[in-house]
Amino acid sequence: MRKITFKIQRFDGQESWIQEYTLDHQPGKTILWALIQIKETLDPSLNFTASCRHAICGACAVRVNGQATLACETPLDKMLKRWESDTLILEPLQNFKLIRDLVVDWEPKAERLAELKPWLMPKDEFNKESGCRQSPEDFKKINKNSDCILCGCCASECNKLSGNNSDFLEPFVFTKAQRFVADSRDKNPVERLSAAINHGAWKCQHCQECVTKCPKGLSPAEDISNLRQEAIAKGLVEHSGVRHAKAFLDDIQKTGRLNEGMMAVKTDGLVKSIGNIPFALRLMSKGKLNPAHMFPKPIKEVAEVRAIILAVKESEKARNIANAKRSEAHTNPDIQRPKEAAK
């Protein structure tokens, strides 16, 4: 009989350890099935949460070999195949306070969620008695982001959050904020936008972990860049001060990260004030900054600009390869990373 081994991170409130459980392999099962099987047949003291068992309640997110995922919808066989191993490592989500075993604390997250005022502020033309109006096109703009089930997978793998969570919020918080900014019924997108800026919208590291981990196919990273673009479009940068604009330029210079927000910048003034054209070109090279938007007047030497972009792209390549190697190591199941105990 084929045996599957689960190395599960346990935590009793004080101590943390890895415990091994072995189950007979059964085809067509999920990670949640394995957890339930372990609890019911091997060890009732193993704790995890799950409720709907079909990817809608968000209760069952855990890390499987270092990747956050919904236990209920993750096929066991797919994992065994992907990792080419009959041993899987199960851990609680990262970037959450740990309660016990695979159970993490959502209460502090609720407080952080509230920071961006994620609730509808209905326009004055609407009222409680007759509700609102919205076109099907405008509904489409909020339909996707309303899929967020607050599972926390994005937050678990967010590199920025792991590095420092004091000046940044969980990716899903920005996704929620973007949902209200995009809602045609809402009268106060600016309030959410400036809150997003104040809570680190420029600090996202564009690692795309949130995008690849979201079980609902959402793109918090894209939402964050939309929030930034929107902030600039709404004049928020000039408005709430050069402070943000400058912070954002500083960021680029420090990290060399691109800055899609610039797409919306239509003033010569800001372009000139960048003062450091190579950085702007690096942004363009990643396709995130449209030169046509950078230079509001038609550009004559398009070819020349393209050539420069190409050159910058080349120089980026080496760095990308290095990054890819690093992230490979990050997700390799055979590499056991030291575990933090309860934070």
């Binding site: 409720s51 309640c57 016990r100 604390d105 609730w119 409680k128 509700g131 309303s146």
Partner: protein
Amino acid sequence: MLKFDILVIGSGGSGMQAALVASSQQGLNVALMSKVFPTRSATCCAQGGTNAVLKNADPTDTIEKHTFDTVKGSDFLGDQDAIEFFCEHMPETIRELDYYGVPFSRLESGTIAQRPFGGQSAPRTCYSSDKVGSVILHTLYEQCLKNGVNVLVEWLLLDLVVENDRVTGVVAMDMKTGEIQPIMAKTVVLATGGAGRMYWLRTTNPFASTGDGMAAALRAGVALKDPEFVQFHPTGLAGTGILMSEACRGEGGYLLNNQGERFMKRYAPEKLELATRDLVSQAIEIEIKEGRGFGEGMQAYVQLDLRHLGREKILERLPQIRDLAITFEGIDPIDQPIPIRPSCHYSMGGIDVTDYRTCGTDLKGLYATGECACLSIHGANRLGGNSTADVVLFGKVAGKAAAEAAKTLDFGSEQKVNELVRQWENSFSSTVARTDGPSVASIRDRLSETMWYNVGVFRKESEMKKATQIIDELIAEYKKCVVGDPSKIYNTAFVQYTELGNLLLVAKAVVMGALNRKESRGSHKREDYMNRDDENFLKHTIISKQGSQYKLSYRPVVVTKYQPVERKY
């Protein structure tokens, strides 16, 4: 000691509505308690939609039509005064949800989109793609954040405290610390959801639907009404019970037997697949019984065919359904029919609410709303889209009434609640210390098999007598049950142990009601009494518990406009 003017238990659609309304009143101290983080509540599972006569998709729709559809759907067991009240107040409730920010799908005119649903004479089911419950639940949670509602997250209600014929508080476990806590409250609203998990794997319900509030009410001397009426949804995935929404049939899906026949034409020639759930579930089970299903025994199924709807419509209108079928059954409905079988979906019965205008019960200070309550507006069979509607409307009704009542009441004594806390502490210690006895899962599995085979879609006396006996045995064995985890911190084994105790108590009431209702009505289909019997059974079952004994009585149904007639679709 924690003290609240109003304590709401359960943070599904109903509980959050109650807490929001109560906390909007000045000077009242309100708390909302839930054993799961609010957005994990069963309400998030609702896919199809919510009924209200908005006349957006059909200007000829009327409150009277919604009322009649609901009365007829209930097989005339619903109380017509409550149903009138319900249908009349639904439109304003939906518009308010729109104002709160629920992202409803829209018509070109900008109004809320509505779709047809089983058992309804007009397209009046408001939807949001196929995730209406999730977006309602999240929107209400957003409103709770906005209004700073005090939420006790991951607190488990253990018991209600009753003193001098009124509720004075509760005993609850703070799951994160494992502390068993006394809480005083002037009024308590129960919004703890259904009890579908008594059928364990053959249910669409999430793990948390274990009838905790219903059982706590029973223990506190409050009766359950019509518990025998358990709705079986016709289209649960064959393997897991995971729901394929009614929208599949609403959007035009076919049900096929192993001859490739649309068999519903023999059971409901006019409505076909859009007949009510009870009729469709029974039809499927007959097809399976008579050999026209696929597979055998517990694995048997019929097919839900969406292929003719075309790729585009499936992707646009039923994307989640498609995802579920692919993930959990390995089937893409664009190319293949989906294997389905009826699964326990909804508890029509519940805590006996004696005044639908307040959601009040016979116990002073105790209110019940949502799936755990029985008003009764769903009678013997709930229409699709009427539960989320019930939940969002009557949550408000209960919250408001509980707040009003709290203004006139004082706190009870601390002695009684402390005494009950000590009892639970002792029970915790002795229970988790046990190392020898049956496991929680083994008792649970026997309960669910007993219920599915003997008190399922079809019922008969001999089988139900057997079920009664087995459940009594299981209740006795439960007392010796092994939890297997002595720890206090987030002890899910102990939580599941208490949930099983609740399921057993409620299941016993389900069987008692079913055994004594010698007729077939709505979801309650007796093989030995095939017809509805208005002369003897146009009445609500009322079951209460005294010690270990259950007491059965009946109460007349309220009939206003619609005299019972035979139900045909």
